[in-house]
Each structure stands twice: as C-alpha cells, then as structure tokens.
C-alpha cells in the first residue's frame, strides 16, 4: 500500500519545528489515524488530543495543510499526496506541546455568560418549530475551530475584550430559548465585544457541525444589541418604561 508523508509540528510555544514521518495509508484512513500510527510505531510522546474519533467531541482540532479541521474527519484520500501533509496546532492558542494547545481562554469566556433562567410559572410546553433554530446552536461540539479562525482572535489578539463565535453561538442558544427570561445584550456589547465581528463568515466556513454561525447566531445578536442600545425609538421607549430587562 502507498505511503504518505506527514509533516507534524513538534515542540512547545518556545521552541519547535516540523518533523516528517512516513505513514502507510489504509483505506478510509483519516489524519488522526496517521497521528496514532506515529504514536504507536515511531514516536510515543507525540502529543495529540482526541476522544471519540467520530466527530462528536471536538477534541482533535488542528490545522491540516493550513486549514483548521477535525483530524478525525479529515480523510487522507481527500488530500494531495504529491507533497507532505502538514499538521500544525491551532494557531490562535498557545502551544503546550506538539498539537496540544492551551484552550483555557474559552472556558474563562464561558463563565461570563449568565445561565438559562426560565420565565416564572412556565408550564414547560415547547414546540418543535420554536426549537429548531435553537437546536442548531446546541449542536456545537466545542472544537474551537471557529475561535481559532476568527481574525479578531487570530490576527488582532483581542482575547480580553472579545468572546468569539463559539460564545456568540452559546449566547444565541440562550437568548432564543423559547422559555428564557434574561437579556444578554449588554454582555454581548460590553464584555463579549460582538461589535468587533465584521461578519466575514470565516467561522461558519470551518464549523464541522455546519452551524450557520454568522447568519443565524451573530447577525441576529447584533440586531438585538442595536435594538436595545442604539435604536432611537427603542431608547425613547426605554426612557418612558424604565431600563431594559435585567441582565
């Protein structure tokens, strides 16, 4: 059977370089299989995160031939074999070792988001047609590829003032939950910096769950922020009726 050459980043944030490995190709093989082959046969200390190997846990994100991908869903036979296949860690996060990065920033952002708070005295009746759009957001497997590819994070390093597409998706799921009773508009504007997003749709393109992040989550959330904070009519209404609902 044919061989493939993998060029894998080895090292830490401080020091590292790509190293080439020859891996025999089996039918249907994915890049994660090739990385496992290297671990088991060539270099047992190659650091890779993975869990389910079926596209459901979002652990094995990396940049394959320059594209952010889940390595468990990237078929070797879909990649050109006339040159080495490059596998690098996600660029937007500090490298711990090899392909493993420090993604703890994401967990810190998540903590800022107020949880689901049901309307008082709800009867818990919900209808599928009201839930379809929310269930799309709930498909997110937290692979953080969208966070990795977003230029606000990747090129402008605005981790302190920006939440990133993953957390706009999470906020959208809460805001559009049929029974939720909290507004997160102020959070979106002030702490998650949704205004930084200029809807280039890079996040949507890399989402392995095919969530339409920009169209279905970010744009409607931007509209909410505009309605609540910048719309002169709404401003007047608020002045008369008091502050917007608690956040």
């Amino acid at each position: 059977m044919a061989d493939a050459i993998l060029e894998v980043f080895r090292g830490t944030q401080e020091a590292g370089a790509a190293k080439q490995y020859t891996v025999p190709i089996a039918p249907g093989m994915v890049v994660l299989d090739a990385l496992h082959y290297i671990q088991a046969n060539l270099e047992p200390d190659l650091a890779v995160r993975w869990n389910c190997k079926a596209g459901k846990c979002g652990s094995c994100s990396a940049e394959v031939n320059g594209k952010p991908r889940l390595t468990c869903k990237t078929r070797m036979d879909a990649l050109p074999t006339d040159k080495p296949i490059t596998v690098y860690p996600m660029k937007s996060f500090p490298v711990i070792k090899d392909l493993v990065t420090d993604v703890s920033w994401n967990y810190r952002v998540n903590k800022k988001i107020p949880p689901f708070s049901p309307k008082p005295k709800t009867d818990w009746k919900m209808y599928q047609e009201d839930m379809d759009r929310v269930q799309e957001f709930r498909k997110c497997i937290e692979c953080f590829l969208c966070q990795n590819v977003c230029h606000v994070v990747r090129d402008h390093h605005k981790k302190e003032e920006f939440g990133g597409p993953r957390f706009f998706v999470r906020v959208a799921a809460l805001e559009m939950h049929p029974l939720d009773n909290v507004s997160r508009a102020k959070l979106l504007k002030d702490e998650l910096g949704i205004g930084y997003c200029n809807i280039t749709k890079c996040c949507t393109e890399v989402c392995p769950e095919e969530i339409k992040i920009t169209d279905n989550a970010i744009i409607p959330l931007k509209e909410r922020v505009v309605d609540e904070f910048y719309d002169p009519v709404m401003k007047l209404v608020r002045k008369i009726r008091g502050a917007p609902k608690a956040d």
Partner: protein, 575 residues
C-alpha cells in the same frame, strides 16, 4: 516531613473522579447540599464519553405511550438484565428517571418535542413502550453540556486533564487521591472527605470498541487496589452495531436509534435474519441477542462484504433520516462514503459498555470502602447481565445524584483524617519508573496485544479453553507492562500516560476473565459456548465478587438479593 509541602495540594469535601454525566450530576448535587466540590477529568471538560451517547435517556414519562409507568420500566430493566440486577437500584432508577429528565429541561436542555409540546420519546430495544427522551441522535451532547453549564454556574472546581493514579486511604477509609497533570506531568494531592468514582468503563481493553482512549477501567482498578469490591465483572456489553468498514473507523458506534426509527437488519442473502432469533421483537430485541445474532450470521458465512450485517434505514424518507439521525448521516457520508438515505450501512458488534463494576449500596451509591462512592458505568448493579439502550444516561442522572448526596452527607460527618506520605511516595516511584529503564517495551505494543487477547479470547462467545489461554496471556502482559519504558519528557507525553492506563486495563481484564471463567452458564451478555443455557438453580442465584487479597485477586460468590413480593409480581405479569 510531610509531602504536602512538596506537592501541590487541594482540599475539598467531595472529590469527584470523572466528568461525564454521572460525575457532573454528582457534583451538582454535592454543591446543592453545601459541600465544597472538585471534579477531576482526564480530558477537557465536556469531552467525556457521555458526549458520544446518541439514542436517548430512558424515562417512563408516558408522553407518547400513555400506558407507560415506572413499573413497566422496572420490569423491562430487570428482564433485560436477566434478573441479576440489584432490584432496588432498578426500582429507584425507574421511579426517579422522569424527574431527572425534567430537571435537565429546567436547566436548559432542549429535547425534541411531541406535537403537544412535551418531550418526545422513541422506541428502543427491550423497552415495552416508546420511552427514550432524545435530541436527534446527539442526546449525550445535550446532556453533558447542560450539566457542565449548571455545574460551572454553581461553582465547582474543575481539574482538567488530570489523571488519578492512587486513592489515598487512612486505615480503610478513603481520604483523597493522588494524581498528575497530564499537561506538565507534575503530581498533585487531592484531599477529600469523600470520593465519588465516576470514571466509566473498560472498552479500550478490546480491539473493536466504541469507547475512547479514556475508557481504561481506572476507577474500577483504583477502587480494587484500595480494597473495594468489584461485582459482576464478566458482563461486558457488545453493542450490536458498530461500523465495520473502513478499517480506521471499525467499532465506532452506530446508534440503536437507527433500529428504533425502523432500521432493518439483513444478511448478504437479503434475509431479515432477526426473524430467526427473536421473531417478536426483531431488530428491537435486547443488545445481547442482536449482537450474538449478527456474530452468528457472519460466522456461518452470511456476513456482509466486510464481515458484518447490513442495516438499512433507506426505506424512510431522506429528510426524515437526516432530521432524526443527523450525525449518523454525516458519519457514514464522511467516513465511509455511504449515503444512508440511499443504501444500507455495514455494521457489526463492538465492545461498548461494562455492566459490572464497583459494588455499591443502592440508596447512597456507597461502596464497601468508607468514604468511597461510585456511580454510572464504574458502578455495578442496575443493569444486571445486560443493559438496555437508554438506561445508561438515566443511570448517570439517577445514581450520579444519589452519589453526590451520599458523598456530601458522609463528608458532613467525616472526622479528620491524615494523608499517608508513604502511599504517595510509592505511587510516585511506580509512575516515574518507566523513565528510568534503559531498555524496555513501548506501552503501545503491550496495549495492542492486550486488545487482541481480550478480543479473541474473552469476546462475545466464550469457552473455558480460550479463557485459560487468556489468563496465561494476561500474566505475560503484566510482566511486559511492568518492564515498560517510555521516551521523552513528562510534558504531555501520551506514551507515559498509556503506561499507567495499561496497568488499570490489565487489572480489570483479569477481573473480567476470572469472573467469566467462573460463571458456567450463558446469561445476558455473557455467552459460553461450553455452557449455552441459563442455570437458574446455581448461577441465577449468585454474583461473582472480586476483591484484592494481598497481591492476588480473589474471586468468590455472593447470593443475589431476593426481590420483594410486590415487585416480584410485576415481573411475573405478561406484556
């Protein structure tokens, strides 16, 4: 003199090992009871194996089939488990599951709905009624995300990518754990008044498995090492439908929901073979029966092209399939070049779940060791000889909650304890030894041989001769593992991590093999070629129990608890 100056040390009331459904649910309950709670996980938060659960949570909510009740759920669970279940656990589980599901909804989970706006329920193998609350075929993801968000908001401490290598004991009592950060390889002491083991199963000891790298039996082995009892270890569930082709995806789960939604199994001759094995329940027979049926078809030469069976849902409208089974649709399309709306999938048995585990008390999830609790797949009892699909997620919720309550109550009254530095020093020495060996074997090759041994000799069908051979192989593998060597540094080193996980796998594999050899009958997931029948007189009345006796593994039998009269009458009822 004390190690606590040498090591990073944390102290909590309740320490939970494992951050899947059971661990997170235990943490939430512990916090609600006022305890200071920490959760340790080998992976990042939210990646535990619960995320892989697809089909649904079994709970007799009677939203779709109004006739359903906890009584029927109890009966289905007991019958599925061939009456080896802990009857009290089966009762509590059936009674409490609906409330646990409603609770998830109140914390933000969004289940698929009926036209009346209630939680939709689907059919599953061995369940009399449509009982599985679900979200398409990604129910586990919904559940873990809901629990994770709830726990984070309530304020537990999370120690991610941390592996526990030893339970610390003061006399017989468990008073904490010792582990290492996978990232940097540094050691950490976690003192606690009570510990909950929620570490899942042991699938990685088999070659073909639906389980992730984390499933190395750590919790069972740690508990065993510390002196706890392991129960019913011979009962390993092979899920009937894993992917069989291409080779790299072999074993990946194909949800039972495919059959729940009407999927049909055929052999290469086009015959719907379940007609032969279970004409009444057909594809929705229990997992042990369907797995054996597929295996038998393949062995007798009627298998599919790559040695499985054909599972077909393409008679349903394509849009329906994509809506109800979206991740199956993508999984086959992307990994196997198969469009399941147009043609059949190839499927075969895959090692999936451990019914046996740490022996616990039904009400509190307490193990036989003071201060140690267990829930979920790491614990034994609820599922008996065979688990029904959907009963795992409900198990995690019901007994995760009870373990959290039990541990918090214990911690509240627990007297002061001291940490034994000798135990820590020993664990550290063992853990670092593979770096010091000039020569020795790569842990990956030992792991590969362990998987072959368990796959070929302690698989779906078992026979004395094979298992004798397996015992010999396990001895050799233990010796090889003890001489293992790892390369590189302590910084995120998977080879080093595996060298420790391998020890747990070997301990648990031995417990499985010993128990399987002892049980000279076929019951549920345990099928003996040399003893093909149920033996109600002897083995219907006893469990296998494993304990540590010095360096030796001790096997004994204990009686099955008698089922009280009114519950026994439920079991006798028809339907």
């Amino acid at each position: 003199m004390t190690n606590q100056t040498k090591y990073e040390t944390h102290e909590h009331d309740v320490l939970i090992i494992g951050a899947g459904g059971a661990g997170l649910r235990a943490a939430i309950e512990g916090l609600a009871a006022g305890a200071r709670v920490a959760v340790v996980s080998k992976s990042l938060l939210g990646k535990a194996h619960t995320v892989m659960a697809e089909g649904g949570i079994a709970a007799a909510m009677a939203n779709v089939d109004k006739a359903d009740s906890w009584r029927t759920h109890f009966r289905d669970t007991m019958r599925g488990g061939k009456l080896l279940n802990n009857w009290r656990m089966a009762q509590l589980h059936a009674q409490e599951a609906p409330e646990r599901v409603r609770e998830l909804e109140q914390w933000g989970a969004l289940f698929d709905r009926t036209s009346d706006g209630d939680i939709l329920q689907r059919a599953f193998g061995g369940h009399t009624f449509k009982r599985l609350c679900h979200v398409g075929d990604r129910t586990g993801l919904e559940m873990i995300r809901t629990l994770q968000d709830r726990g984070v908001q309530m304020g537990f401490d999370v120690f991610m990518e941390c592996t526990i290598i030893r339970l610390l004991t003061d006399g017989k009592r468990v008073v904490g754990a010792f582990g290492y950060w996978r990232e940097q390889g540094r050691f950490v002491v976690l003192k606690a008044k009570a510990v909950v083991m929620a570490t899942g199963g042991i699938g990685k000891a088999w070659r073909v498995t639906s389980n992730s790298w984390e499933y190395t039996g750590d919790g069972m082995a740690l508990a065993y090492d510390a002196g706890a009892e392991l129960l019913d270890m011979e009962f390993v569930q092979f899920h009937p439908t894993g992917m069989v082709w291409p080779p790299g995806v072999q074993g990946i789960l194909v949800t039972e929901a495919v059959r729940g939604e009407g999927g049909i199994l055929r052999n290469k001759e086009g015959q719907r073979f379940m007609e032969k094995y279970d004409p009444n329940r057909m594809e929705l027979s229990t997992r042990d029966v369907v797995a054996r049926s597929i295996y038998t078809e393949v062995r007798e030469g009627r298998g599919s092209e790559h040695g499985g069976a054909y599972l077909d849902i393409s008679h349903k409208p394509a849009e329906y399939v994509k809506q109800k089974l979206p991740s199956m649709y993508h999984q086959f399309k992307e990994l196997a070049d198969v469009d399941i709306t147009k043609g059949p999938m190839e499927v075969g048995p895959t090692c999936h779940y451990m019914m046996g585990g740490i022996r616990v008390e039904a009400e509190t999830a307490a193990s036989s060791l003071p201060g140690l609790f267990a829930a979920g797949e790491a614990a034994a009892g609820l599922h008996g000889a065979n688990r029904l699909g959907g009963n795992s997620l409900s198990d995690l919720l019901v007994f995760g909650r009870r373990a959290g309550l039990g541990a918090a109550a214990y911690a509240d009254k627990a007297p002061a304890a001291s940490i034994n530095d000798g135990q820590i020093a020993e664990a550290e020495r063992d853990m670092l030894a593979p770096f010091d060996r000039g020569e020795g074997e790569n842990p990956y090759s030992v792991h590969r041989d362990l998987q072959e041994t368990m796959q070929n000799l302690v698989g779906i069908f078992r026979v004395e001769e094979d298992m004798n051979k397996a015992m010999g192989e396990l001895e050799k593998l233990k010796a090889r593992a003890a001489r293992g060597r790892v390369e590189g540094s302590r910084l995120f080193n998977p080879g080093w991590h595996l060298s420790r996980d391998l020890k747990s796998m070997l301990t648990v594999s031995e417990a499985v093999t010993r128990s399987a050899m002892a049980r000279k009958e076929s019951r549920g997931a345990h099928s003996r070629i040399d003893f093909p029948k149920l033996d109600e007189q002897v083995w219907g009345r006893q469990h296998n129990l494993i304990t540590r006796d010095g360096d030796r593994m001790k096997l004994q039998q204990i009686p099955v608890d008698a089922i009280p009269g009114e519950l026994n009458e439920l079991l006798a009822e028809d339907k």
